[in-house]
Symmetry: D2
Subunit: 396 residues, 4 copies
Amino acid sequence: MTEDGDRFERVPVPRHSGDDYTSEAAARRREFASERSEGGLEHVGSYSFDPALVAGNVEQFMGVAQVPIGLAGPLLVDGEEANGEFYVPMATAEGTLVASYNRGMRLLHECGGVRTTVVDDRMQRAPSFVFESARGARDFSSWLEENMDAIRAAAEATTSSGKLLDIDRFAASRMLYTRFNYSTGDAAGQNLTGKATLAACEWILANNSTIESFFLESNFATDKKASQVNTLRTRGKRVVAEALIPDDVLRSVMRVDTESLYRARQVSHLGGFMAGVNNNGSHSANGITALFIATGQDAANVAESSAAMVYAELRPNGDYYYSITIPALIVASHGGGTGLATQRECLELLGCYGRGKVRKLAEIVAATVLCGEISLGSAIVAQEWVSSHDRLGRNR
Amino acid sequence: MTEDGDRFERVPVPRHSGDDYTSEAAARRREFASERSEGGLEHVGSYSFDPALVAGNVEQFMGVAQVPIGLAGPLLVDGEEANGEFYVPMATAEGTLVASYNRGMRLLHECGGVRTTVVDDRMQRAPSFVFESARGARDFSSWLEENMDAIRAAAEATTSSGKLLDIDRFAASRMLYTRFNYSTGDAAGQNLTGKATLAACEWILANNSTIESFFLESNFATDKKASQVNTLRTRGKRVVAEALIPDDVLRSVMRVDTESLYRARQVSHLGGFMAGVNNNGSHSANGITALFIATGQDAANVAESSAAMVYAELRPNGDYYYSITIPALIVASHGGGTGLATQRECLELLGCYGRGKVRKLAEIVAATVLCGEISLGSAIVAQEWVSSHDRLGRNR
Amino acid sequence: MTEDGDRFERVPVPRHSGDDYTSEAAARRREFASERSEGGLEHVGSYSFDPALVAGNVEQFMGVAQVPIGLAGPLLVDGEEANGEFYVPMATAEGTLVASYNRGMRLLHECGGVRTTVVDDRMQRAPSFVFESARGARDFSSWLEENMDAIRAAAEATTSSGKLLDIDRFAASRMLYTRFNYSTGDAAGQNLTGKATLAACEWILANNSTIESFFLESNFATDKKASQVNTLRTRGKRVVAEALIPDDVLRSVMRVDTESLYRARQVSHLGGFMAGVNNNGSHSANGITALFIATGQDAANVAESSAAMVYAELRPNGDYYYSITIPALIVASHGGGTGLATQRECLELLGCYGRGKVRKLAEIVAATVLCGEISLGSAIVAQEWVSSHDRLGRNR
Amino acid sequence: MTEDGDRFERVPVPRHSGDDYTSEAAARRREFASERSEGGLEHVGSYSFDPALVAGNVEQFMGVAQVPIGLAGPLLVDGEEANGEFYVPMATAEGTLVASYNRGMRLLHECGGVRTTVVDDRMQRAPSFVFESARGARDFSSWLEENMDAIRAAAEATTSSGKLLDIDRFAASRMLYTRFNYSTGDAAGQNLTGKATLAACEWILANNSTIESFFLESNFATDKKASQVNTLRTRGKRVVAEALIPDDVLRSVMRVDTESLYRARQVSHLGGFMAGVNNNGSHSANGITALFIATGQDAANVAESSAAMVYAELRPNGDYYYSITIPALIVASHGGGTGLATQRECLELLGCYGRGKVRKLAEIVAATVLCGEISLGSAIVAQEWVSSHDRLGRNR
């Protein structure tokens, strides 16, 4: 078939690869696309940076999506890395979203802010190994443990910032599935862990002759996918956001009382359990996605990062303790899309650009999420939800 | 506390609401934010459209995120609505992604394209009802069925494009959880269904005195959350993409054979089952997110839309049958963010802007996803995965 | 290979099949087994009924397991079919179990009994159908709907007590998975539904030429397996048991207060959600299994019947509302093991033997389960749990 | 209220506790029950052992359930502890079951037997700890690690056979959920681990003042409940059974070919994934339950032990590799119900009674299960399933 490779028209690529990330190359692609479009690509072509900036972030670059950013805040955070007030850039096209988060931020500011804690931090690559029989898989599990030092050395030789923490092992049939867990500094770390794990596996393959075959991934990482193993064992940052909300404050800001809010939550928890959700809260994906797009995170990780565990208590004095645990929040303050033009600006607005800032960013995301949970939860109880969409939203 | 509302500085809002979606208001907010930032917001302010366009899409607008778009294709689709070659705009900052999807598109073009089918289409709002005891919940379930005509009339009075198809009912404890299933035309339909369902519930509350309390959502929709109920019962479009890949074509384009690819897939299926994934494939969220951002879909729906079921067969002649089923693909060709500047241009590029185009868009998304699955799967088997990231990617 | 069938010794089978279910045949098998055992089979041979009774229940019969039965009660039930006090036979070898359930029965008797409700009732057989492509599967789904009358007629022709209620349909790849839902009278119904569904499928295959292949089961029933689809869509009886427990009664019987019990429950709910349980309660399988063995139910169905949803409320006056929903309780008062010697006696003790009694039995099981939940939950909070096992139990 | 204890009639208890486990006490209870029954309890009273034997296994003893036992075999096992042929006692009232397992045993005998491997072995008790905030939970997780030696010493002081292997820790909200993992010798170990963990927790509570509250169980063990955490992290024995089945042998014994069987399996795997099963195989609960009842295991553990992962391969030469992994098989050869009259006899028949035999038993169970999987799978493909129930079964 390949002899017939010309039968379809490829997206234009410059003759010299050095010309690929230029305005000319991008314009040539837009021209090519426009000829095949019902409209033009004027706005797509209206980017404000040098295309050289996106080398390493995208291939066959032709322009940009302009996603509207609303500014919410101030968000008051009582974190270990994030402390004080933040103004939060949220990129979204969903009417009401920014307003709703903003309202939650106002409420929790009145309540003294959101306490945030990063409780774990580990990124994976998850190779699987196949053996002649189950006994081979079991014995290899022990072998891995015995050779941990050498494996770690092989992995860490490929990276300056990654550390191999440990290797989770899960046996089934004649396979051993593993999770190589790393700390990855300020990068999200998917690529760093891929490279390190491949090096480790090369060492393993050279030193263990019982392996029949090997795959660098077999659905155990689980990159870009929700999974129970991530909820249990963490992927990226495991962050908790907590707040204590007095009944009178809730009433004044949200027009609902804590007892009603609490009862609605219990009904939701049972609903979610029966529905088989991976998130028993309300809509953490909304806040996470808006922050991810604004700050250059990989929005495809919303698949994993949208998992959440809400836990609430109605205290005897009427206070409402509310918390959310995000077990797989995948964020970076360095690398990936964080250095792009608008993305870097948004990270700087949060004081989260560059080295040593990734946990601060994780805390801000978690705090933002908690504000949105309370706001939507209150709206449902107050039955304002649909009317607020009518007032502010677009989709009628 | 509210008397002390001034103790923090609000994001600036114009005196007259008519001035809210203007360049001046946006500039004023950027100025406010810049004073609190480590950097500026020049690029965020470099949008190319009239801010009036985003009224209804965002609040407290201050500018845009510029997300790089790569152009992949041609994607050859053999769908019911989408037919022929498409050039696909993918908005992402993840190096390798566009190249990988592009490679998959080349492969499946050689194989005759991707067959796509929308097998179901329904959007939900999911109110719960609480009764004195379980018997009340059970009896209400029958009552709903008996009063279906009146309930449908109440719901449909609020919308010109939504149709109430049926109401799923799930009893637990003294609650009845429901899913009001609608067809929603070319809109994603979350807001339309919210409004219609609220109207239906108002009719219900007025006509049934046994209801103790009611919530418009209780984790059964499950909006912005992965869930088994969505995988089983569909949310948005349920789309299947299928392809048949001859062994020689796979070898020539991907440098792997179909048998190896198939064996790797089986190991992944078991891994995913043990890990508790909601997607036994590779990384559909990558393609979906890139298309969602480019075309103005709600990227927070990646939480639901990233669910997938891959099914593969190695045929006796060596052909590889490969399919992916996306049970909760939430897309719109009208409403939401589809009319924004760059987003509309990207929809037009696909011939998917406006009325009557939503299923075509769903088919293109599914076909794109299948290309990415084969490409990453092949790279893992060929052990090229890490090396391709090294060559093209950024995150070292 | 079959020519070499003699190379191993088969379990003895009488020359005439009419002699199979006799004391002699059973004795011959025990003798055969004893020769290969470290001990004898005297107790196994000490059954008190005519072996002819077990024809249809077991093959290669050689004797019985004698499982100890403890008598718990009185259980006070406020059901629709079960009303009043019951003494409950529980077959188990787990020390403490009967005592613990008995204690719970005492508590809920003091509270006015357990309210029980059967909220749904449906048994499945779940054939899958394979087509040339996804479009075939989708079209077949419509075809099924259009031909429902004929399909129902074919199914119901095979049974006097089964009724085909509806057919759930779930599309994925080029398959359509179905659940044929039946009401099955007083039988559990797995065999009845198998026979009826096979007949229906034969009609379908004769009248639809698009089906490439067909399997009577493909993991969608899901017989002898826990599944979310059963939790959502019911298998067997869906039963709710509810009770209202005043604080002072709980304190006097259980030595714990309702608030402590409630708080422990909330922590358990979050734990279970994170752990990925199919039952957020305590140990319903204990009561269900003990009743299943005593009354001739199929204890292998504990796989499905152990799913449960606990929902609790702490009322403002300190009352504790407690409920459990068992979505897949598979019970029979007729057929299967219900007519065996001891099993029938235990059903008669509950007034649940024979026609028209199955829902009564379901209610008694659910009520028993609720008693055990409260009892173990209280013990954990009171930290009496381990000490009670020490006092009563065996396994030190 | 207890002063009013007389308003209902308690189950008779002898005046002296020493008289509790006697024939007289049992007879008195049967008499009490018979007066309230539609029938008698003659068969229930026909037990063949001294009631003193069941002290520690049941309370308020009144007799036995007589569950029919069929003898299947020979089962050919190629295990590490179990080697050679076994005749398997299966206690069940489900017609066809023994015949079906027997048929599978014949097939796999022809194929050279079932290879079995115990790949892990750990029993849990799973306390949760509550703190003032998430930071307390996180810090406690480190504290546990630092104090592991003392905690282990406290736990192991209570038991001669249990060893504390490690403590899994899972943080959410202001809680730390743990799993104390033990090896438990030949006992199932639920009680042993309860006692040891309580002692460990008492040491912890005495030495750590940050704990706000503590529960010995919070749904993380997960005793008597299916869960993903057990599938991932093992509960009891994690056992794999494997076999290699030549096409001609399958055809001669089962009248199906390996390719058809394999294709049916793939369709079932997708079905199970969509249905949300915890077992992608066919019906392992049937064999497990029958063996559990016969050999004195706790049949309520079928809730956990029915989880399974089937993995199959169709080899290029037409051989069918078939395996099942049971991640939470809870068995004992000592303690619990293993010493009861018929139960001990059945264990002795397998050479599995007493010390040092538990892994052998686990291997026999897993091998039996694999035989049943192949047998039912073949019947479905051969469409013999319903007809064999008709011929042998009872439930028409």
